[in-house]
Symmetry: C2
Subunit: 259 residues, 2 copies
Amino acid sequence: MSQNYKVAIAYDGTNYGGWQIQPNTISIQAVLENVLRIILRQEISLIGSGRTDAGVHALNQVAHFRYSATIDIPRFLYSLNALIPPDIRVRSMQPVDDSFHAQYSAISKTYRYHLWLEPVQDPFQRLYSWHIRRPLDLDALEEACSYLVGTHDFTSFANEAHSGSAAKDPVRTMFNASLHRQEGCAYLEFTANGFLYKMVRNIVGTLVEVAGDQRRPADIPYLLASKDRRLAGQAAPALGLFLVRVIYTRAAPTQLLPL
Amino acid sequence: MSQNYKVAIAYDGTNYGGWQIQPNTISIQAVLENVLRIILRQEISLIGSGRTDAGVHALNQVAHFRYSATIDIPRFLYSLNALIPPDIRVRSMQPVDDSFHAQYSAISKTYRYHLWLEPVQDPFQRLYSWHIRRPLDLDALEEACSYLVGTHDFTSFANEAHSGSAAKDPVRTMFNASLHRQEGCAYLEFTANGFLYKMVRNIVGTLVEVAGDQRRPADIPYLLASKDRRLAGQAAPALGLFLVRVIYTRAAPTQLLPL
């Protein structure tokens, strides 16, 4: 008999080699599993909704783990947050059905990518946005976004995963791809039923080439149709990327601890 | 013949021992003077509007320096920002009258202090706000603020300066002391014709004691009248404090490079 628990986690990815445990780097998953083992006195396997790369941030990464006894959640969250570094915070936790799986039960994920567009970077945004000094045509970028929405084979925007995992179906449905303009900056938001490896960063790099007049917005459908990674643009740097939301079907509504 | 220049500087103070050059620590002033000397090929003395402590941030610190020749400002700012670390940015620069002095010509300064008031800290605010987990009575805090406005002897809220500088007049005029409530957080804003050493942090620490029901709002006038630092509260930590604005009398209006 064991109980399944769902947690929501925010992290500043600057100092980590990504979400997933890997050799020769400190991962967010490893930091959390180590402290979970100390508090719960058993090996805990924490399964995330998906990996985030080195330097990528999360406002709400979701993960699940099983534990053999009942947990006093408020006390446990207090201890957990006291023992992990301050750049990782566990925002909420709830018991969930055995069937809940942070990766396989997810029906959509949302990522945001922040661009800093003024000549001088805000020093407080230096680790959280890509500073682009040359003028960008944001209308062209917005038009290019519109071609990404819908069900497509995203092979052109996917890197080969490090792990030798079996080739996955590269078809994904993009529910939303939108540009949000702010004073001196902007962010892109992408919601899809799933993302291929480095897909958001490859898309953003390509969109910025469109906005910099190196490609046309109408090139996007041709890029998608080509299924050739070499034809798309360079990946945008990791630091501007945030995992902001993971949506599940039948999971109980999550009561987030307000940040 | 030399020209006087005014600069506006933003910095994340996390990694510095404060604005002012001191032994055994890296100061923002030292970083800037070193690069100014390299670019301008002469010793440059950069005078700030005042010191900020180790860990204190600035959105607009103002400083001045003299140089023996004319400077091509856009090119110079580009080079300067390329050579200093990304947690310091020079936002603007303009030639000013010989009479302009970043410290002595200032007629007011504004500081903000950020409080994080939810049970779980936002990991992205961990270096920029004081996390207070216990419940605070913000109405009491706001009432306490009101007693600070006006012309007072602020000795009770001033630490002895490190340097053996001559005792200064401890009377200052507080033009504004206000609380700004936001979702899950709040900030305090103080505008005065000048601030004594550690005055803002000592005031904030004392105000938080009022909000935590350890003192009453009406204690503030008695604290001011006592002129005894030992009676006021503990200093708030440096990391929540931002120098946001310095106002000058006759200086030409500054065209800030938008961040």
